[in-house]
Symmetry: D2
Subunit: 146 residues, 4 copies
């Protein structure tokens, strides 16, 4: 898969590292391409719901971040990105060694960007599509990240 | 506000306590009414995005759980609940001392239930509506909770 | 219910009258309040799906227009409104003498506005909630309406 | 593109012909494949919004029908399909000679099916992606179609 330019990768990674939630969940970025970002979340008790599957909230959190950073790769350097809204369908119980969320820019406009969100559960060589979504993001003047 | 029957409250709290994610985020249930559940999430660095606000993934996670348990209060005792899908609009930056997610059953059918999701950020006496959503849930035969 | 200012009512009605689809479906505006618009759609074979109920597309069309015009009432006079996205849950078969769609502004920002959409089916004195939705709209510089 | 079995095509076309709204809008089915249905809507004043573009309600109506019939192609012969909910993003002004809505089954379960919805505006050889959506449908015991 195509990699994003080095300065874009740096911008994305530095921002991701400031997301306390992603760190707390144990998520990490596994790919940064132009208009496409992957985030991986390993299975552990801290991210489960009551049946032991990945919690929809954890699935959604990495999907939302993957889409946000996918949009970030195509935005102007001096801009920030905020999620306006998203919708997600949970297709199958999310169980496996880890989840992989894939955010992909579908349409990028001057103000708004629309991303596709997909989450897969991986166990060994099995890959199950566990969630699919759509997200709208807005590009705003950069806010200082802390 | 009206409280749910004691056995319903017990069923909800026992299930919530098995959600590793809710515990890991620091969320707790603050109200269980018939068709209505509130979940509170205190502010801390572990639930932030890059600007220091609550991460949309954390906001969504407690909204999803609040809606799921609101549906659970109206379901048959021997059933489980799964989120089919939800959509959430982020209305304002989520900052404050804590978030309160309110899940409310709008329509409950034999198979499917639709809930309203609302999240408020509270700082002192200020209460800001930071997210609103809609969720579809399915009632299934009970699965063992671990 | 509170009525919108006369010039706002005129602006909304003139725009609505240019919507070929609303005329073709037989829809009409029944209320224009500040941040709130109602649209009525009488039952007739031209708006049905295969079981004889109102088609979800007709239900959605009047819901989308009701929300769009609700947003229009709070926008600057020199602006136009476009629907960015919406999500709608169909709660019950839509059958009756007519439908009433209610669009209500939930949050209005400088660029984006979020509306609640609700549709009721009315038969005599019975009123059934048949659809509920959420809509995001964008305020843009006015385009000439034809 | 692969065609659906003749009896499936007949079932879909007969049901579509009973949708008063599709006929009234001037929509027709242009493809019936396994898990995939296309619906075409020619441009005419009866389907416009105030700027002369296709109305979001018309765009959504054919998208909803395309997804519903795509699901119908994979359902048991003795079942009916109802839309539970859908979400649609309007990506660009919908203008052209005609619209083409493409409904595709993404995941089909025993009770629920999830479809992707895409709508394109075609002018001559130009094809613009004007809307994208996600839809949840439920399979129920067949109801008589009138």
């Amino acid at each position: 898969m195509e990699e994003a330019a080095p300065e874009v990768q740096t911008k994305v990674r530095e921002s991701f590292d400031r997301q306390g939630l992603m760190h707390h969940l144990g998520a990490r970025i596994s790919h940064i391409g132009p208009g496409r970002v992957h985030i991986v979340l390993p299975s552990r008790p801290e991210v489960t719901q009551q049946h032991g599957y990945f919690h929809a909230g954890a699935t959604s959190a990495i999907a939302d971040s993957a889409g946000g950073y996918a949009a970030f790769t195509v935005f102007r350097p001096d801009s920030s990105v905020l999620t306006v809204e998203y919708k997600i369908n949970l297709l199958a119980p999310a169980e496996g060694d880890h989840l992989e969320a894939v955010g992909t820019v579908l349409k990028s406009g001057r103000t708004l960007t629309v991303c596709n969100l997909d989450v897969y559960a991986i166990r060994g060589t099995d890959r199950t599509h566990v969630a699919t979504g759509q997200q709208t993001l807005i590009q705003i003047k950069a806010r200082p990240e802390r």
